[in-house]
Amino acid sequence: MNIPRPEHPRPDFERKTWINLNGEWQFEIDNAKSGLEKGWCSGKDFSRKIIVPFPPESTLSGIGEKDFMESVWYRRFFSFPDKWLDGRILLHFGAVDYKATVWVNGYLAGVHKGGYSPFTFDITELVKPGDNELVVWAQDDCRSRLQPTGKQSHRLKSYGCLYTRVTGIWQTVWLEATPRQYINYFKVVAEPSDGSVFMELEVKGDGGKYTISAEIYDEGKLVADAQTSLLKPLSHIHMNVSDVHLWSPEDPHLYKLLLKLTSEDGSVDEVSSYIGFREIRSSENKILLNNQVRFLRLVLDQGYYPDGV
């Protein structure tokens, strides 16, 4: 079948080696909240089908049930190229509302609280060649007052300015392969006044000494690059782009950013992203974007969709 939302979920942090796990999963609503006691974390076929990443309240999910669902279970199998076992295998969730407990082949991969934030588990030690079982248990008690729920209704039906709830998986789930040592995260500040680019990078894993290089491209042409070999919990890179082309709503110019981590063991981790040079600040009672006074013409968008919730 076709995979819904097939595109890479993170164009701002993209590796070439990834597998989208959206599509048909097994699904069960666990109103009695006894699934864990019944051993549903492995080896149990669930009776229904759901199309991930759409929440069960939505029509796109194929379920379309809008009542409270405080406990739901998902299950599917996945496989990956054998050579991925030479490095690390990461399991990513864009978002699961609210508390997610994840098992791979019956082993606990991890627990995450927070219905709007992404999370990642390193499942390298839990997987094997061939078929692997993945089970997700989502608990979502919208009425507890202990979890952020935004505009999700606390009554059975939507009312006033509160609308249909979202339960469980509602963003892309994907697998990613990295070398044993890899770039876990980076922060970048691109300064419009002089074209400085400051980067802070986190490296994870074990591959010995390494070098990180960063390259900035404008329309395919290399305009700045730098590298660092300092082994610290945070690596820093500073670059400079001359004749900087600013980002603004009128001209949203982006530069391509390519990061490469080369480890002593010979492996190379490559991540592609992009940067935009823009500055926002206030001065007295004015808002300045790139040093120009800016009147903000904004509209309220609450991110609700008729077929996807």
Partner: protein
């Protein structure tokens, strides 16, 4: 329709939405979906802060995001110091993690942090004259709180210190000429009788913000209808309820704060 961006309200949008905002040049005010959390509960506060930090980390690199707002319209008892202190702390932490953006504590009300970079209000007054009068004498600073909520015993906004001032929710004009079951939907104020009356109200409300030299921006409620709330410029299935060119020509007039003279901006 001539908007430069959006308040992404009470939801953390997918990264791909922000990617397209970066690509297309769409300004974003990011907000945490704090509603539903009882701030007088310590474990609820922890859950909120943990998740907000993760979001700030996820979205730090997007040029489109210019504003962070961790809370929206909080009703706070005047003696709820745990709540007040917590909001101040979240603002402080937001600025430490991300010193590159403007921060608002609670959108609309209740402002309690002296570190906010923008002072905003929500105002659903539908009478254009009264709406305009709310802001006609907007002072440079004020010892009294600017607060357009009806009289209440809850904590009021702290005094205005002369920050950029924006009206970050207004309008919400009820307009649903195609409503299937009349009476089940709602919007703010009295429903206009004709599309001309709807446009006239939109124009008058919006111009009173554009043409006030003390105001730095607006956020119109809202882009599209959602379920029973039928005050969008588009229907829930994203069909325009009004000619987009008309809204465009109202929105793109030059604001006083941009120059002082009227005219179109592109």
């Amino acid at each position: 329709m001539g908007f430069d961006g959006a308040r992404l309200h009470q939801k953390v949008f997918e990264t791909r939405f922000l990617y397209w905002a970066d690509r297309l040049g769409y300004l974003v005010a990011g907000e945490f979906p704090d509603w539903g959390i009882d701030l007088s509960n310590a474990s609820a506060r922890d859950a909120l802060l943990d998740e907000w930090i993760t979001i700030l980390r996820r979205d730090f690199n997007h040029p489109s995001i210019i504003i962070w707002t961790p809370f929206n319209e909080r009703d706070i008892d005047a003696d709820n110091y745990a709540c007040i202190e917590f909001i101040r702390r979240v603002v402080r932490i937001t600025k430490v993690i991300d010193p590159t953006r403007l921060v608002i504590d609670c959108s609309g009300w209740t402002h309690v942090s002296e570190e906010i970079d923008i002072y905003d209000v929500h105002d659903y007054e539908q009478n254009p004259e009264q709406f305009k009068n709310h802001y006609i004498d907007l002072p440079e600073k004020s010892s009294r709180p600017l607060d357009f909520r009806p009289q209440t015993n809850l904590l009021r906004n702290m005094p205005y210190e002369g920050q950029p001032f924006i009206v970050s929710e207004y309008g919400g004009i009820w307009w649903n000429p195609l409503e299937a079951k009349p009476g089940e939907s709602w919007g703010y104020g009295e429903r206009p009788k004709t599309i001309e009356e709807y446009i006239a109200r939109y124009k008058a409300l919006t111009e009173s913000l554009l043409f006030n030299r003390s105001i730095s921006g607006f956020c119109y409620t809202q882009l599209y209808d959602i379920e029973q709330e039928t005050n969008g410029l588009y229907t829930f299935d994203r069909k325009p309820k009004v000619d987009p060119k008309i809204i465009w020509s109202i929105n793109r007039q030059k604001a006083c704060i941009e120059e002082g003279s009227r005219g179109n901006v592109n």
